[in-house]
Symmetry: C2
Subunit: 421 residues, 2 copies
Amino acid sequence: MTETALKQQALRLGKQAKVAARRLAPLSSAEKNRALLLMAEKLEAKSGFLVEENQKDLEFATANGVSSAMLDRIALDPGRVRAMAQGLREVAALPDPVREVVKMWRRPNGLQVGRMRIPLGVIGIIYEARPNVTADAAALCLKSGNAVILRGGSEAHHSNQAIGAVLREACAETKVPQDAVQVVQVKDRALVNELLQLEEYIDLIIPRGGEDLIRAVVAHSKIPVIKHYKGICHVYVDSDADLQMAEKICFNAKVQRPSVCNAMETLLVHEAVAPKFLPAMIEKYRSAHVEVRGCARTCALVPGITPATEADWSTEYLELIISVRIVKDMDEAIDHIERYGSEHTESIITTSYQKSREFVDRVNSSAVMVNASTRFNDGGELGLGAEIGISTSKIHAFGPMGLEELTTTKFIVFGDGQIRE
Amino acid sequence: MTETALKQQALRLGKQAKVAARRLAPLSSAEKNRALLLMAEKLEAKSGFLVEENQKDLEFATANGVSSAMLDRIALDPGRVRAMAQGLREVAALPDPVREVVKMWRRPNGLQVGRMRIPLGVIGIIYEARPNVTADAAALCLKSGNAVILRGGSEAHHSNQAIGAVLREACAETKVPQDAVQVVQVKDRALVNELLQLEEYIDLIIPRGGEDLIRAVVAHSKIPVIKHYKGICHVYVDSDADLQMAEKICFNAKVQRPSVCNAMETLLVHEAVAPKFLPAMIEKYRSAHVEVRGCARTCALVPGITPATEADWSTEYLELIISVRIVKDMDEAIDHIERYGSEHTESIITTSYQKSREFVDRVNSSAVMVNASTRFNDGGELGLGAEIGISTSKIHAFGPMGLEELTTTKFIVFGDGQIRE
């Protein structure tokens, strides 16, 4: 495709989305839910078609020798299609944030002033691999009254197209405009860069995927981007920790699902409890095949530990590797977090009231926890109902983003003829 | 200055601000207020010095033949210095948003989850002319726990430097780090572009000034920018309007202060009341020297009206000119607003309950009003205490931005040993 054709194509997507967004914004919750439930029904009814189309992606991927982990991420089967449909039904059941008045007050001159939630408008999602993102992200955008432009990875091209076609078919039978959900058909990556220029038509870009993808989006976008680059999460075991609780949480935070952004990467332990706590903890990690890399003091305390290098402290392993550091107090733990952390998730294990308060006040990560596993930094787990991603940008949203974070508020003002003097 | 030197200078400003932001964030309200009150005291005590330095800017401006309106914007006298000090005292008296827990809930597993306000970190303000912005913006950033880098226009260079020096002198006698307030000394505009690259050190950019300045900032910035380009505000006089009230509001919205963004630029009138309403309204405008440009129907109704061109509907006059259009119903009024408006401020004048509801629901501007002057779209007037600007970006803040809009929230999570299954 020529550059001109790509520009035109991007502009067409943007304009169609903006028109759809204006028609979508005033719809009632019932009308939007009707579309979501119909989408779920149709996905299940067309399960055979979806699995067939997915087969094309799998064949292409196999021919190109991708890893079995990647194949698993791309694959759809009837069970996964059902799960996708179920996800849509869950979004339909969530409260609609649009037109909620979040606050209202009265001014001395009698004006009544409030803030009402409204959709952002048009959201662009740029993602990789898993085709279920197509349905999940579309559902969250639709429910919050936003039109969405979805641009998935080429490795799931046929699957994403097929899911998009089914979702749009459902829209056509409801008041939701079809262009509220657009799945980009052009495979050329240059189209993404054209989309990122359309600040007049697209209000927000959410990239989901590896750090390289996200950095490329941020570098090219004129549109605000909400993202997180990585999650280097810490657990700090304080001198006043309940060590049994600490062991349980530290094991869970590292081992339960190591491949995700809210898994712990570095364990910080107060020197007063390190001799009692670390040998057993490390033994437990080893029994779960976790490779432990330690600071000099950790290596001196427990035989056979790989020494951690400077690079280890700022590495997001996303696998069964952990770095461990003994610190002399909470100040040193917080210094370490500020220096090497990614402002994602940190947890303190302590029985001290005063230290729990201080840790929560001083650490400014997107989620700061006391006596809980970092794995809880997730929209579903924290009670947002669902999440479209986790943000470590502080602007607009910080932490997991649910439906409310896909809205903004306008001021509404009710008067009786007030003028300014 | 060479490009390398500029880069180093920008980086130094950014790094110093980030260090200061970390020291500023945990300070108590009392500590921040102490600095604000001391700043006010010192500004008044050094009024002579400030007026002297301001004289240099005025002389330079006069030598360069700037307009008398611009000279007035730059000028400082003891009264204006007192007003600036008073502004700081008012900010000190506002409630501190930092560490406010805005919401808290409990999860089925016993986790207690909340959202706590925290400062954004480092804010860059790029502005023109009025030197009082230096003190106002510094105060709002400081109160909300943010370090600020201030880059004013070269036309007020000496005044801004002098104000900055006094503010920093006050910081030095309190716990607020001096680098919480940095006024850029380098006059070279290229430094601004270097600052706009520092996404690692600066969290938010707020440009204040003309549309050209703002577009240049948006085009170059890697950092999120909150801004508004212009305010094309509408009043729609409905068929069910109280016409006396309508006349009072329409006059106020246009005439009370025409040079500001929340002044009305276009008046939309329902055809059913136009014959009764418009002749007297236009007479009233003319008596206040307002030039009226009308649609064909307006011109036919009232003799001697200049016909409005297509360009008029999307022009922010910022002076005593108004465009007037007769519409056949509210749908046509809203279509006009969507097509030509800037999502800033729109007001309906009506006695109809149903139409007030519909207008407020359907118009998604930063402030949507019923029976009130558009001039109320202002942080102080709407009850935010003060404002650092008005945003028509929907991301993060939409409408006037007060102290709360200079914060974000982190999730805080209190557990008793919870792990994910």
